[in-house]
Amino acid sequence: MNYDVAVVGAGVIGSLIARELSRFNLKIALVEKCNDMAMGTSKANSAIVHAGFDAKPGSLKAKLNVEGTSLMPELCKTLGVPFKPIGSLVVAFSDEEVETLNELLERGNTNGVPGLEIYDRANLKEAEPYISDEAKAALWAPSAGIVCPYELTIAAAENAVVNGVEFIRNFEVKKIDFDGNSFTVSDGDTTISAKYIINAAGVYCDEIAALIGDTSIHTTPRKGEYMLCDKSIGHLANHTIFQCPSKMGKGILVTPTVDGNLLLGPSAIDIEDKNDITTCADTLSDVLEIAKKSVPCLTTREVITSFAGLRAHCDRNDFIIEPSEKNAQFINVAGIESPGLSSAPAIALYVKDIILKSTPAEEKNDFNPVREEPVRFRHMSNEERKALIEKNPAYGRIICRCETITEGEILDAINAPAGARDVDGVKRRTRAGMGRCQGGFCGSKVVELLAQELGVEINEITKFGGNSKILYDRTK
């Protein structure tokens, strides 16, 4: 197949770029090595939309963060993705840290962050009743928010597909050739060709760039481990609570999620293996200890799951968004670590401009920016539920009891444009299996529905593609 643009990597960055480019008369492929989008950094991060006071003034990070954050509410609305503008607090526990708050405030003002304010202890206590008594002051940033990163990625990719982008799963880019005009991209079995390549491969950006001989990028996977707590303690934080930043990142935060859980993390450890998303008991217990510095009443009792994600840290310490020095038709979008999610909407526009500058394309008149929010039975009134089941009885059967997810919602997730193909894909789209029992009851039902809709035996269904099968052979 011949494309104008091949976007490598269907994370939040690649998916939003593909969507942005789908406004134009361009033939676009969104190429993903996994069985689904949002399988790397985009599925396991802090889910925070940062206000933008952290990055060095003048850096790409500073510019795109503030822009991205201002675009986020509207984008989420258009794509039917939950976003909550809850604001953030950076808490200081010493006079030295209070000093840091003032620096951050100043930097934020330079970066153009709106509404920054220093809270004294009383203001802070009022905003966060469960905050530690040791807290002295905080930097309040009203423009910060929380978003579901994988829902945003999925929605962007779905909308891109609706607007003509081809989503190619399980295509691991192993070889790229250039004939002077266009690239031939191969996964070892199949090839596609594209005039432009956008390298949005997250922690693998360096390896993809190296395929065209560009060795200027060096990505270090920086592992972050998180603990997710039950909704019953969701009220322990009203805003995203940061501690003062260090060299390795923004420290351990305590934040509500858009679904009402409480998230603690992340740790920050540089590792070698780009596949390593294992969690470590000692690290997690450190995460909890440090989180308790902010909110002392946290315990392990309410932890329902823990997970790890990798940030794509690059040596340059700023986003790298530019045509490769080796080939102007190969655009690197690398080093997208925090505030990558916050910047994503602005990054998509930035990359669009780079592409349009070298290949002017006309805007399509049938582009549809809207992706309707999927049915969320759990958020409906009884009247709405009644009407919904009358229209489609599949919504009258609960599959996931903990999160109140219906069969209809799961069928929607499977049959969506670029729909779910595995159990984790259903989970990310619907929340089935994300509750207290973590799929104990609904897991087997989800497997059955996937098999039924995909027309395969239940033992062919995987947890997340590849060899992650759930069942072996028939017993007899």
Binding site: A281, G396, F464, N467, S468, K469
Partner: protein, 417 residues
Amino acid sequence: MLNYDIVVIGGGPAGMAAALKAKECGVDSILILERAETLGGILEQCIHTGFGLHYFGEELSGPEYADRFIQLVDEQKIEYKTDTMALEITENNIVYAINKTDGLLEIQAKAIILAMGCRERPRGALNIAGSRASGVMSAGTAQKYVNIDGYMPGKKVVILGSGDIGLIMARRMTLEGAQVKCVCELMPYSSGLTRNIVQCLDDFNIPLHLSCTVVNIHGKERVEGVTIAKVDENRRPIPGTEEYIECDTLLLSVGLIPENELTRAVGINLDPVTSGAVVDEYRETSHKGVFACGNVLHVHDLVDYVTLESQTAGEGAARYVLGKTEAAEYITTKGVNGVRYIVPQKVNIRNSGDVKLYFRVGQVYKNAKTVVKYNGEEIISKKRPRLAPGEMENVIIKNDMLKNFAEGGVIEISVEV
């Protein structure tokens, strides 16, 4: 709006027994709501035998035990709706439920019996480090795959937790050709029945490692192995005792939690130890006309006891509907010194019958005594050659004793060694 005298939420052994008893006590307008496709609850997948020894004096499999009650529900023409999920109960005892054919159901009940059962504790609650590879599941999920769907969830298996479900699955997987490498138990004793340790593990030479846990899960896509380690008396892994075991599956049997989301949402008082409602001797909760029984009230080890308890709740709900309840003067019950909890948590001393108190101990005792005290004074003492957390104990408070108690009194049960 539909109207029923009694709505029973859950059509497992608890719900069916409660409904049948209520019918026997003279209530005709009863509706059972069951979320699965058939009545029977978790018994449908518990195909091993050992059910009914107390209640029927026979050794039945789970589905056979359930079938006896399903037959009776049909004979008694008790109405039920399967594939129906109760979403909410209100202050005024209205039940909202949904299914594919009726859509949203709004049911006004005079009394509600909660019989939703329990669920298994998931991996997250344990915080086992390592990968998120496929191949980690609860023993109950594996049981469903093997016994109902007829698929193998794994070939080389490690089981964490030696509760009865874990032990039963060790045998079940072995019979179906899997290699069960070992069963690890965090505690220094198994919470499973001795009989299951002998017949599910020893018979098949499956090692049981006590004071041992899984500290790491390996494998990128499918589980490739686990690291186990010994734990100290504080249940913390002891460095240096780690051992790698190659396996493709880790089954978790690490405890059951009553499913009390509906209960909690309507504001019914829960007992922090049982994670079930606080009830009186008829299993009425803090919410008038709402009763609870079976594993949603406290986790039972034998279904026979679930049946008996649910009959009590069914009778209570019937008396409530028929206006036969006495004025109430309550005493409370309290487990102390080795007794973790007692159900019921309160007893109406105006009750005209005997009252059976069920309780559970917190550790294994040999040659101990269980002592019942009323306001500090010993009233009953029973010699017990063996007490174990896995086996529910009971004691009967005779009615003539009850009559001598005064409102506000406290019954304490303790273990004396």
